[in-house]
Amino acid sequence: MFKWFAALTETAPVVEEVLETVTETVAEPVAEVASNALVALPLFTKGLLVTLMGLLGVFLVLTLFFVTIKLMQKIGTGK
């Protein structure tokens, strides 16, 4: 297990460098384009997006809370 952990720590900097490169060359420009695209939308379209994504987000988060509670109920009953 110690060998496995040592190998992991050796590869970590390489993985970090790859992720940094991907972020700088792909993710950041894409995020900037997406942001500009959102800002350029008509007002009512923005509103519809906020409404749909907002409601979805609220349901998603509360569904996660629901799952959490169900898991805790199972822990509580020892299952």
């Binding site: 509103g47 809370f65 509670i69």
Partner: protein
């Protein structure tokens, strides 16, 4: 010095009331009087409406001209006035809503929700009105307030704050309004939010009765008496904070403070702190918050068309939040063998515990042996969570639409 000038100076406050601005002052005194009357005589959320009403009186007293700057303002509101100090200390930096939520969290018992977690979805459905009002506001604001036409940023921000009024959650409303730098609109937004919270017993019953049949209102629901495990009650606030903070980071301060208060209550080893949070902290911050909000009700900022629009849209949001919860329950009943009383959906708003009590009262009117209080409380506490998450989502999404500058 001229004797007349001395008299004019001494009685400048009285002479002020005879001016145009003075008449607005008298109008604000009347509005403040109505709030105080509702608080004392009708017992409508007196802890909030009375300080707000009194703060409005203080904010609209005849101005004192500052000898250095030449600017006139009520003495409680000037640059060093105590209401200004309180505003900067607790509202402008969003501290008071956070502290209130610690107290609210210490008061909430999530046991009913942990025993019947399906009620959590009513807390989500009852946020429908927020977003419906947001959309309607986007259309109406530029029409009713032509000065805002073309200013997309202001329209989006104002629509966000107005929509959140529907959640019946004063601290979240203040948090969103302040985040979007809507100081000029803080007065009508906060008064609308807190007034409608106190009017839950008046607003919700007609909406519920319009959307349900007597037979639906008489539906009985089973209830599990066993209390949730102590471990679950301790883990729940911790996990909720982590989940909400990771997925909706902008909701972290409100969720975190609410859950911190709840953890103090449920851990079982901090009874003194729990009692302090539920009583002294909550009461102290309520006093300061109420009077400070009243201090924002200055005539020039309040007696405008904006105020009427915000009050009307706030009421629309409130009604549609109630309707959203009821209709969601009716929708679920299409697929369920054991029916849910649709009124429980209406208590998915954040007005805890008033909404739950209102629902139980209506249920008892229809059937004296129908007890749905605990189910309503489950939905009510989940509404508290739902409104905070909705507030965080609105801040995040609207900020994205504005290019991430808020």
């Amino acid at each position: 010095m001229d004797f007349v000038a001395i008299l004019k100076e001494l009685f400048s406050g009285v002479l002020y009331l005879a001016t145009g601005a003075g008449l607005k002052t008298l109008a604000m005194f009347a509005i403040a009087g109505i709030l105080i009357y509702l608080a004392i005589r009708k017992d409508y959320e007196p802890a909030l409406l009375l300080p707000i009403g009194f703060g409005a009186i203080l904010a609209n007293l005849p101005p004192v001209i500052d000898a250095v700057t030449g600017v006139g303002a009520a003495s409680a509101l000037g640059e060093h006035g105590f209401l200004t100090v309180l505003f900067n200390a607790g509202i402008a930096n969003e501290l008071f809503p956070i502290l209130i939520f610690i107290g609210v969290g210490a008061m909430i018992d999530f046991s009913p929700l942990l025993k019947d977690p399906s009620m959590i979805f009513f807390g989500a459905a009852a946020q429908f009105g927020i977003f419906a009002t947001f959309l309607v506001s986007l259309v109406l604001i530029p029409i009713v307030l032509p000065a805002t036409a073309g200013d997309e940023s202001l329209i989006l921000r104002l629509a966000s704050a107005i929509g959140i009024i529907g959640a019946a959650d004063g601290p979240t409303t203040l948090y969103v309004a302040n985040h979007f730098d809507l100081k000029d609109y803080m007065a009508p937004i906060s008064v609308a939010a807190y007034s409608y919270m106190s009017l839950v017993p008046v607003i919700q019953p007609p909406v519920i009765k319009a959307l349900t049949t007597k037979k639906e209102r008489m539906i009985r629901m089973d209830y599990n008496e066993q209390r949730a495990s102590r471990l679950a009650l301790i883990l729940f606030p911790i996990i909720v904070t982590a989940v909400a903070g990771i997925i909706v980071p902008m909701s972290a301060p409100l969720v975190g403070s609410l859950m911190f208060g709840n953890l103090i209550r449920e851990c079982g080893v901090l009874e003194r702190l729990s009692k302090t949070a539920q009583n002294e902290l909550a009461n102290l911050v309520t006093i300061l918050l109420g009077i400070t909000i009243g201090g924002t009700m200055v005539a020039e900022n309040f007696l405008r068309l904006d105020t009427l629009l915000i009050m009307a849209l706030g009421l629309f949001a409130f009604v549609f939040d109630t309707a959203g919860g009821v209709l969601f329950a009716k929708f679920l009943n299409l697929f369920r063998k054991t029916k849910i009383n649709p009124m429980v959906g209406a208590s998915g708003i954040s007005a805890f515990p008033m909404s739950a009590r209102v629902i139980q009262k209506i249920a008892k009117e229809e059937d004296p042996y129908n007890f749905i209080l605990m189910q309503s409380i489950s939905a009510n506490v989940s509404g508290q969570l739902g409104s905070i998450v909705a507030g965080g989502m609105v801040i995040t999404l609207v900020s994205m639409m504005l290019g991430g500058i808020w």
